[in-house]
């Protein structure tokens, strides 16, 4: 079934690319969405089983797969709006749709892979897809971002590959040549710890390109600045989750070795540096999309810190990633609307949003406050749980530093939000068209879901989530 799914994705993408008619592209996207939904249901039915030898439907993969399926519906919906507005030629439209399908399929591959090599191949595939998508608008700025993205991502995945080679060398001394995660996990305890440290270091640096974590975070920010907003929503959430899943699989497999302490320290300080950089840059951000991107850096930093605290905090980490995916994608979808209304992303050029479009402005304000983790946002709960975990693990000083940094971030967020929504316009700010209700309704649903999952999680959801971390 999974094989069929990947073949279908390839065939549909090829069809779109060959026929190059807008109608075919749209119809194929909808067919693919149906397939994505089916594979998600299929995965739930076959929970815990292996497929095609190298794939496995486990809890952690599945929860992110479900988020991915939800987000693909949203992304396709907003892509339709985006493409209709832009009126690109059919060639660009068909490339956009074909590549979007390939991207969704490869992210699915990342979530479900049970083999280190295969996971790496899928991560490599996402690089290709994302670079084509951020090049969509084809101006000098998007060329610059695409070049940086492709080049630094290539270095990143080459480094991750070096990590995998090291892993191969390390387990080879035991006479094992299998690189599936279960086998690595079984071998890790007896392997040379120095090898294992090298493996984790290279993997962390390599996949930080996908996660948007500290050492190679800049390209993600640049990519998000120029990407079409539906794509931006997708890469700041589903792709970030893919990076996290990749890192988490290795972390989990290597934690059988005697280097957990070392890995945790590394994660703690890369996370802390990420939050620090995010805090500094958010104070001075002048572009709405970059503001969103730096907020992603902050959240991924929190996730890394939570992962380093280990144990029950992992529950909070997974919850945080899920809620962040919902809010952050909502923000980026809405930024598309904002851009269409004001024709700019510059924070200083957008004034009196509330006076011009009260409903949309309220949603925008809600999105930013929710991202900052201010109640009733569900993110407040997950951040609270992460802090609680840090406190219990005895990281008092780190927690204090983190709280100070988060204060700066919330300040930057609310200042910009209030500036855009309520400040009076000194010179006249032009607006274009009316904001339609169908652009706003889906985002309201996302916000309701965030409150619901944060404060009143259904029992089945909590149970499933706690099974992820075992």
């Amino acid at each position: 079934m999974l094989g069929l799914y990947f073949i279908l994705a390839l065939v549909v993408a090829a069809l779109i690319f060959l026929v190059r008619k807008r109608f075919v592209a749209y119809a194929s996207l909808i067919v693919f969405l149906a397939a994505q939904t089916l594979i998600n249901i299929y995965a739930f039915i076959h929970l815990g089983e292996r497929e095609l030898e190298y794939f496995r439907f486990d809890h952690a993969g599945l929860i992110f797969l479900s988020i991915l399926t939800l987000l693909s519906y949203y992304t396709v919906y907003y892509s339709f709006i985006y493409l209709k507005r832009n009126q690109d030629n059919p060639f660009r439209t068909s490339i956009y749709c074909a590549v979007l399908i390939m991207l969704i399929a490869s992210v699915t591959g990342v979530y479900l892979s049970e083999h280190a090599g295969l996971l790496w191949v899928f991560v490599e595939a996402t690089t290709l897809c994302v670079s084509l998508l951020i090049y969509h608008e084809r101006n000098a700025l998007s060329l610059e971002a695409t070049w940086k993205y492709v080049f630094i991502c290539s270095i990143g995945i080459a480094l991750a590959f070096v990590g995998i080679i090291f892993l191969g060398m390390a387990v080879q001394t035991n006479g094992v040549y299998d690189l599936s995660f279960s086998s690595i996990s079984a071998q890790a305890a007896t392997a040379n710890p120095f090898w294992m440290k090298m493996v984790f270091l290279f993997i962390l640096v390599g996949f930080s390109t996908k996660m948007g974590l500290f050492p190679l975070q800049t390209i993600k920010v640049d990519a998000l600045t120029v990407a079409p907003s539906p794509v931006g929503a997708f890469i700041s959430t589903a792709l970030m989750n893919a990076g996290f899943v990749a890192l988490y699989r290795f972390y989990h497999a290597l934690s059988a070795a005697d280097i957990v302490e070392w890995m945790n320290n590394l994660l703690m300080w890369t996370g802390m540096l990420s939050v620090m950089i995010a805090a500094v840059y958010m104070m001075f951000a002048g572009n709405l999309k970059r503001l969103g991107a730096y907020s992603g850096l902050e959240h991924v930093g929190l996730v890394a810190i939570g992962l380093s605290a280990g144990g029950p905090v992992l529950y909070a980490v997974f919850l945080h990633l899920i809620l962040h995916s919902l809010v952050k994608s909502g923000l980026f979808y809405h930024l598309g609307t904002v851009f269409h209304h004001f024709r700019t992303y510059k924070i200083n050029s957008i004034k009196d949003y509330f006076g011009k479009a009260p409903g949309a402005a309220l949603i925008f304000l809600m999105l930013l406050l929710f991202l900052g983790g201010i109640p009733p946002s569900g993110i407040f709960v997950s951040e609270f749980l992460i802090f609680k975990g840090l406190f219990n693990a005895g990281h008092i000083w780190e927690m204090a530093l983190l709280l100070v940094l988060l204060t700066f971030i919330i300040f930057a967020f609310t200042r910009n939000a209030l500036n855009i929504v309520f400040s009076e316009e000194k010179a006249r700010v032009e607006t274009y068209g009316k904001i339609k209700y169908y652009e706003l309704l889906p985002i309201i649903l996302l916000l309701i879901a965030v409150v619901w999952l944060g404060y009143f999680p259904p029992h089945a959801f909590s149970v499933f989530l706690s099974q992820c971390i075992m």
Binding site: E124, E144, A158, I165, F194, T225
Partner: protein, 209 residues
């Protein structure tokens, strides 16, 4: 024999550190391809014919002919001859790359490798570091690309060390190589050459706050 090839390979790294004409860079890259071919041939003669052919095609056709040809085509098209002043002087580059080789040797000591693998590992890891170093310290986009190729040669050499038992990893390395070269060289270097007049990273600093 293999040790000689590896030694020559590390000399190419040092030579790249002080090269300032870009043609020299390209020749060194081609030479590295040939050296990799030699190393592969000596090392992996017991693996299946299919994999061996794949590797040989990759090293000779791809690394020694196709990429150098394409790079010099770009040089001619854009009339670039030499690298402008790098951020670090050539003398220090030489010292630093030597330092990389020593560092790699020290690291390989911690890993409990046997004697043959140790030499491989040292050269491969030094090549990886040199590639990253070249990318960081040079200003032209095309030199960055060449730095990446050096890094990639290092990765390939590294994958050879376990290639006898895990040919899949070597094939994945080849996949990475071809993927990146086609994507980066073919698609974007062409475009960037057309869009920005001088191919320097100074043109690529519009994305900021």
């Amino acid at each position: 024999m293999e040790t000689i090839l590896l030694t020559v390979f590390s000399f190419t790294l040092l030579f790249i550190g002080i090269a300032n004409r870009l043609n020299t860079f390209i020749r060194m890259l081609a030479l590295q391809g040939v050296l990799l071919f030699g190393i592969t041939f000596l090392k992996l003669n017991e693996i299946s014919w299919f994999n061996l052919t794949m590797i040989l095609l990759e090293t000779i056709i791809f690394k020694s002919i196709a990429i150098p040809w394409f790079l010099s085509y770009i040089l001619h098209k854009n009339k670039i001859v030499r690298e402008t002043e790098p951020f670090v002087s050539y003398f220090w580059s030489l010292i630093i790359i030597t330092g990389f080789i020593i560092l790699s040797y020290i690291i390989s000591g911690y890993l409990g490798l046997d004697k043959n693998t140790k030499a491989d590992f040292t050269v491969a890891f030094a090549s990886l570091l040199t590639g990253i170093y070249i990318i960081i310290t040079r200003k032209k986009i095309i030199t960055h690309m060449m730095g990446y190729m050096i890094l990639e040669n290092g990765v390939f050499l590294l994958s050879l060390t376990i290639g006898a038992h895990q040919p899949m990893l070597v094939n994945m390395g080849i996949l990475l190589d071809i993927f990146v070269s086609v994507l980066v060289l073919g698609l974007f270097l062409n475009r960037i050459g057309n869009t920005f007049e001088e191919m320097s990273i100074d043109n690529l600093s519009n994305l900021k706050d």
